[in-house]
Structure formats: structure tokens, C-alpha cells
């Protein structure tokens, strides 16, 4: 099967600062791939090069079998792009915006069906300017999928959503992925990546620091677990171990059953992510600043 996205040795500099500094990436057909990284990490630059909005300095890029630099309208007919923010549609209705967008695609989906798929049937004839942030983002996604794309780009789709809107949105993306659309998603939210993505890439300072399934990212699955408990005197103990089950069994034997206040934790995706990007942050994190203040 064709690889929808193939990138190798991608580089892009703004003046002297390297925004993308040698990225390799292959995204497979039907996959949901999440690109994570702090602001200024090179996520948007990478994605915009793939979308054909930016020129690259070096490297090989193939998107749906074509070089985005030279690909034409026939290529765009197979893509769906949901930009980071889109405004300018305030005075039209979702139905109007979708109807005119559908006309430019050769394999456009039925407008009413798309409106229903994004859950906007009640709002189809309201001005987009009157919709909530989450509803507007649904319009953006509807515009991105109305052409039945083989590959969908989603740039920070749920920024500013309330938790319920985010959950609903995730269901929408999962249903798209279920129908075989390849999706490249950028996000700040680790729970979002964990929930939606088949694989996750972490970018910082223009480089791909880690690339794996959410469960295995950065050696998460095999890394040591932290076991904590209290002894009879109420003193808290913490032990990091690669064999937590064995330790818990020993503790259970020692306590003759229940171990007081026992916890076993592995690093969350967030812990792994933060430790991956920590060396690449220009500014200290909030915690470090606080420590400085109190020290």
C-alpha cells in the first residue's frame, strides 16, 4: 500500500534559526498520527510544508505520492486541511459554507450528511458567527472532510474546548479514522494524543525526539515503576523497581495481607513527554521558577 506521508531529512530555517532540523517520518495508510511538541518546536512548520503552504530548505517529502511543492489542484482534491484557526465565515451559515466548498471537490460528500456527521444539524442554517467555539471547530472539520479526503490534516483541533466538547470531538475523529481516512493531528493535549493516535511523534527544537505508540513512547511500558506504601509507624516508603509485582508480593507477605496506602505507578504519557522535551526548553518550567523563588 502507498505511504500517504513520507518525509526524510526535512530541514527549514528562518534566517539562521533552524525551525525544522532533520525530521524523518512515515505515516501509514489509515493511521492516526499525533505530532506533539511545545510551542515553537517546529510542528506547524512541518505540517505546513506537508500541506504545500511553506517551502522547505532540504529533504525529501512525499504526500499522497507527490511533492507538495509542485503538486496541483488534483492533489488538493484528495486532501482535507483543517487549519489552526479559521475565521472569515461569520456571516454565512454552515450549510452555505459547505455547499460552496463541496462544489470544488470531485468526490464531494452529501452536505446534509456531513452536517449530521459533525453534529450540526440543528445549527445548519445559523450564522457561523453565532456558534460556540466548539461548534465552529466542527464547521472547520466539516469543511475539511466534505471532499472525502484520503488524508486529513488537523492542526490543534480542540484548543479552547470544554471537556464535553472535546469528548464529542474525539468521537467524531474516531469515526473518521474508522472509515479509513489517514489523519495527521497536531495537539498540545497529551490525553488527546493518547486517546486518538495510533502513533505519536514528539518534536522539540526541530527534531523528532521520540516516535512510538502512546503506550510505548520513550520506553514507557518497560520503564521502572514506582511503589509507595506506609509502614506500621506511619512512615512513607518509595521504591523504584523494574519488578513491582515481586516487591508487592514481598510487602504483602511482610504485612500479612493488606499493605497500608499502597500505590504502584508508571510514568504517564505526560511525565514521559515532559522529560523528553525538558532539555529542549529555552525557558525554565513553572515548577523551576517557583523553586527559584522559594529558594
Amino acid at each position: 500500500m502507498e505511504t500517504p506521508i513520507h518525509v526524510s531529512g526535512l530541514r527549514k530555517a528562518y534566517r539562521t534559526r533552524a525551525a525544522v532540523d532533520g525530521i524523518d517520518l512515515d505515516i501509514h495508510s489509515g493511521e492516526v498520527f499525533a505530532l506533539l511538541g511545545p510551542n515553537g518546536a517546529g510542528k506547524t512548520t512541518t505540517v505546513e510544508i506537508l500541506e504545500g503552504f511553506r517551502e522547505r530548505d532540504a529533504g525529501e517529502v512525499s504526500v499522497l505520492g507527490e511533492d507538495p511543492r509542485t503538486a496541483g489542484l488534483r492533489w488538493r482534491d484528495r486532501l482535507g486541511i483543517v487549519l489552526q484557526s479559521s475565521t472569515g465565515l461569520d456571516i454565512v451559515t454552515p450549510r452555505e459554507a459547505l455547499a460552496t466548498t463541496a462544489k470544488v471537490y470531485s468526490r464531494a460528500r452529501d452536505v446534509d450528511e456531513v452536517i449530521a456527521a459533525v453534529g450540526l444539524s440543528d445549527k445548519a442554517d445559523d450564522r457561523i458567527g453565532k456558534l460556540s467555539g466548539g461548534q465552529r471547530r466542527r464547521v472547520d472539520v466539516a469543511l475539511g472532510i466534505v471532499g472525502s479526503p484520503e488524508l486529513l490534516f488537523l492542526d490543534e483541533p480542540t484548543t479552547g474546548f470544554d471537556p464535553q466538547a472535546r469528548r464529542d470531538f474525539w468521537e467524531l475523529i474516531q469515526s473518521l479514522a474508522g472509515s479509513g481516512t489517514t489523519i495527521l493531528l497536531t495537539t498540545h493535549y497529551l490525553d488527546e494524543a493518547e486517546h486518538l493516535a495510533d502513533r505519536v511523534g514528539v518534536i522539540a527544537a526541530g527534531r523528532m525526539l521520540a516516535l512510538d505508540t502512546p503506550a510505548n513512547l520513550g520506553g514507557r511500558a518497560s520503564s521502572r515503576a514506582t511503589v509507595t506504601w506506609e509502614d506500621e509507624a506511619g512512615t512513607r516508603h518509595t521504591e523504584r523497581t523494574s519488578t513491582p509485582t515481586q516487591l508487592v508480593a514481598q510487602l504483602a507477605a511482610r504485612h500479612g495481607g493488606e499493605v497500608p496506602k499502597l500505590t504502584v505507578t508508571r510514568p504517564s504519557l505526560e511525565d514521559t513527554y515532559l522529560s523528553l522535551i525538558a532539555p529542549h526548553l529555552d525557558t525554565p518550567t513553572e515548577d523551576l521558577k517557583l523553586e527559584e523563588v522559594t529558594a
Binding site: 517551502e55 488538493r76 479559521s86 472569515g88 460552496t100 462544489k103 470544488v104
Partner: protein
């Protein structure tokens, strides 16, 4: 064929958006009509007697050519410069570029919008002039032929120059000042609100560099008595030069558009 069909579809959408935007409707569409009505009422006494009255020119007829010219500039140049700059800033152009829409269709949509709004505006202007203020409209075909080419050239040059000019605005916040201020000054020095003859010579020379002065002059040749051409700078209507200057601006505008038009904001590639 598909390019044309999409262009027409865009025209319909552009028209819907134009008339839903109250500010645009007021400041570019209704403005010349309101100004004509106001001037016609305020200055009705000054045209009651003397040369003007003898020649059959009342206040409304005196201001009509200027208002028609201002209308051409507002619905073409001003509305294009404003809308394209805002669409570039808010990401509309980028979103359109992300689709397989042929770029020509976008411009066809704009051309369709300008053609329909400027024609509708003109028809309203002469309807108000004729029925509210009793202005005698030209009856000979030759004058209407002049009107057609001045109008078409004016609208075409305004449209391409507006799209070219939109690139000067770096954000939608600055666009109002960058577009409206020069447009307003140009209207004052091009004989739209004042009789062009009342301006100092050097200002007339400056105005002659820009197309609006020539559109206004062309419109005077349509709506004023022929004997009034002696009042013009050259003492004649100068149809040949009028056509040449406006056409030159149209071609220049087209070349600038082709070289400078961007779908994304500056500094984002």
C-alpha cells in the same frame, strides 16, 4: 467550464456576504446615493437660476457624474482592497488555497461581485436622480456608449488595483486607515464632491495622475451639457486620453496583482 461554474457560485456567495455586511453596504454601496440626495437638497437653491439653470442643470445633475464616479471607485477599488486584505488576514484565502478551487474562480467571484454591485448602485443612483430630483438623463446613444466604456474601464481598473492594493495592508486592523484615507483624499481632489474647476492647478495635476479624476471627467461628458466641456482642464472631454489613462492603470494593476498576490499573510512562508 468548471472554473466558470465555481466562479459563478463564488459570485453568489460573495453577494450574500456583501449585503450581510452592514458597514460595506453603507460605506460603499449606499454612500454615493445618500451623498447625492443630500447635496441635491442642500444646494438646490444655488442652482435655481443663472447659467446652470439655463443649461438645465440642477444640483442633482451637477453632482451626479461625481457620485457615479465615486460609486465606481467605492464598489470596485475600496471594497476589493478591504475585503481581500481582511480575507488574507483572517485566513480565508489560505483556507480557499487549501481546497482544489481553481484560483481564477476566486477572482471571477470578485469580478462578478463588483460588476453586479456597481451596476445596481448605478441604476439606483440614476433612478434617484431622475425620479426624486427630476434630472434629465441623456437620450442620445453616443453618450451611453461613452458611459459604457468609462464605466467598464473604471470598474475593471478599480477591481485589479484594489486587489493589488490589498497587499499593502499588513493586518485587518490597519486596513481601514490604509485604504479609506487615500480613497477619501482622492475623491476630494478628483472633483467628486467639489467642482474640479475650483481646485488649484497643482492639485489638478496631482489628481490627473490617478484614474478617479478621469472616471469623473468621463462621467461629466455623459451627464453634462456638451457646452460645459470648455470648463475642463484641456477645454474638451478628452475621451482618448481618458481611455488611455484608465486602461494603463488597469494593465498596471493586473501586472502588480500577478506579481504580488499572496494567499497567505506576509512572513508566513
Amino acid at each position: 467550464m468548471k472554473t466558470l461554474a465555481i466562479g459563478w457560485d463564488r459570485t453568489v456567495l460573495e453577494l450574500k456576504m456583501y449585503f450581510r455586511e452592514k458597514e460595506a453596504v453603507f460605506f460603499s454601496f449606499a454612500f454615493p446615493i445618500i451623498m447625492l440626495a443630500m447635496f441635491a437638497m442642500i444646494f438646490s437653491d444655488s442652482f435655481g437660476q443663472g447659467d446652470a439653470a439655463d443649461a438645465g442643470v440642477n444640483a442633482a445633475r451637477f453632482f451626479l457624474p461625481g457620485m457615479v464616479a465615486a460609486g465606481v471607485m467605492l464598489t470596485s477599488f475600496q471594497s476589493m482592497a478591504l475585503s481581500v486584505a481582511v480575507e488574507r488576514d483572517d485566513g480565508t484565502l489560505k483556507r480557499l488555497r487549501a481546497t482544489p478551487m481553481p484560483p481564477v474562480s476566486y477572482f471571477l467571484g470578485k469580478v462578478g461581485l463588483v460588476a453586479i454591485t456597481s451596476l445596481a448602485q448605478f441604476l439606483l443612483l440614476i433612478a434617484v436622480a431622475r425620479f426624486a430630483f427630476g434630472v434629465q438623463l441623456p437620450s442620445d446613444a453616443g453618450r451611453w456608449v461613452s458611459f459604457v466604456w468609462v464605466f467598464l474601464l473604471g470598474v475593471a481598473s478599480g477591481t485589479v488595483l484594489g486587489i493589488a492594493y490589498s497587499s499593502l495592508a499588513t493586518s485587518s486592523r490597519s486596513v481601514g486607515a490604509i485604504v479609506i484615507a487615500p480613497a477619501l483624499i482622492l475623491q476630494f481632489i478628483s472633483g467628486v464632491y467639489f467642482a474640479f474647476t475650483d481646485l488649484p492647478d497643482w492639485l489638478k495635476q496631482v489628481a490627473s495622475l490617478f484614474p478617479l479624476k478621469w472616471i469623473a471627467q468621463g462621467m461629466r461628458s455623459v451627464f453634462f451639457p456638451d457646452s460645459w466641456q470648455t470648463q475642463e482642464m484641456a477645454g474638451t472631454w478628452e475621451h482618448g486620453r481618458t481611455a488611455l489613462v484608465i486602461a494603463a492603470w488597469a494593465v498596471a494593476g493586473l501586472l502588480i496583482c500577478a506579481r504580488t498576490f499572496r494567499w497567505t499573510k506576509r512572513g508566513t512562508t
